[in-house]
């Protein structure tokens, strides 16, 4: 089980701030592809991604219990 977090515009489009899915031992890229198949109108590829609050690359492996966050370009400050 992994928890996936959404923020900002993507949160509003999907209408959820988090989804818990039964997937692990997949890469970030595979997770992005999974969401693109689920939401064919959305592109997940450009998102930065964090696993457990650290930025990771598309090749990073997601483990059971991980929290994955899709990070749109930030605009704080």
């Amino acid at each position: 089980m992994i928890t996936v977090l959404f923020f900002a515009g993507i949160r509003e489009v999907i209408g959820l701030d988090r989804i818990i899915i039964k997937k692990d031992r997949i890469t970030v890229l595979q997770l992005k592809q999974y969401f693109e198949s689920k939401y064919p109108l959305l592109s997940f590829e450009p998102f930065m991604t964090a696993i457990n609050e650290s930025f990771v690359t598309d090749e990073a492996m997601i483990k059971d219990q991980d929290t994955v966050a899709f990070i749109p370009p930030v605009s704080g400050g």
């Binding site: 923020f7 930025f55 704080g76």
Partner: protein, 154 residues
């Protein structure tokens, strides 16, 4: 230190409180950056703003910026508070305070902190205009990434 130097808050920020976090007998210079909600951005009139954060990661990234500053300028102390939620024009969104025995370091470290916040801290801004709203950053038109993308070292 008992008090945390890096905070995400939902209430108005007290500049004095953030400043007091870095004030000390050895520091002759304190620089403060106050980011406020301004009325016009690229000629468009903002009515209000909403900031959203990935709170726990934002605090972690602020701490990371603090560590980067400690490595680069060992004499500097830094405190950062960012507000989230609904903000009006002239409201304070972020306060960065840096103290140092010498002033040039206090300026440098402070400007470094705001640049890094705009790169790696997961906080997002939604602008409310008369004719609509938009999350800033996730549209090519308004993306502001000084180095292309957030650093991946974090």
């Amino acid at each position: 230190m008992v008090q945390s130097m890096f905070k995400i808050v939902r209430e108005p920020i007290s500049v004095e409180e953030v400043t007091n976090l870095v004030s000390r007998r050895e520091a002759g210079a304190i620089t403060i950056f106050i980011g406020t909600v301004r009325e016009l951005t690229k000629g468009k009139k903002t009515l209000s703003l909403e900031y959203q954060a990935y709170d726990s990661m934002a605090i972690k990234m602020l701490n990371l910026i603090g560590e980067e500053i400690e490595r680069a300028w060992p004499d500097a102390w830094v405190a950062i508070t960012h507000r989230v939620g609904k903000l009006e024009i002239t409201d304070i969104a972020v306060v960065i305070a840096v103290s140092s025995p010498h002033r040039s370091i206090a300026y440098e470290a402070n400007e470094y902190a705001i640049e890094r916040i705009k790169q790696i801290v997961p906080i997002w801004k939604k602008e409310f205009w008369e004719d609509g709203t938009m999350w800033i950053g996730d549209q090519l038109e308004t993306a502001e990434y000084p180095e292309g993308r957030p650093s991946e070292e974090g």
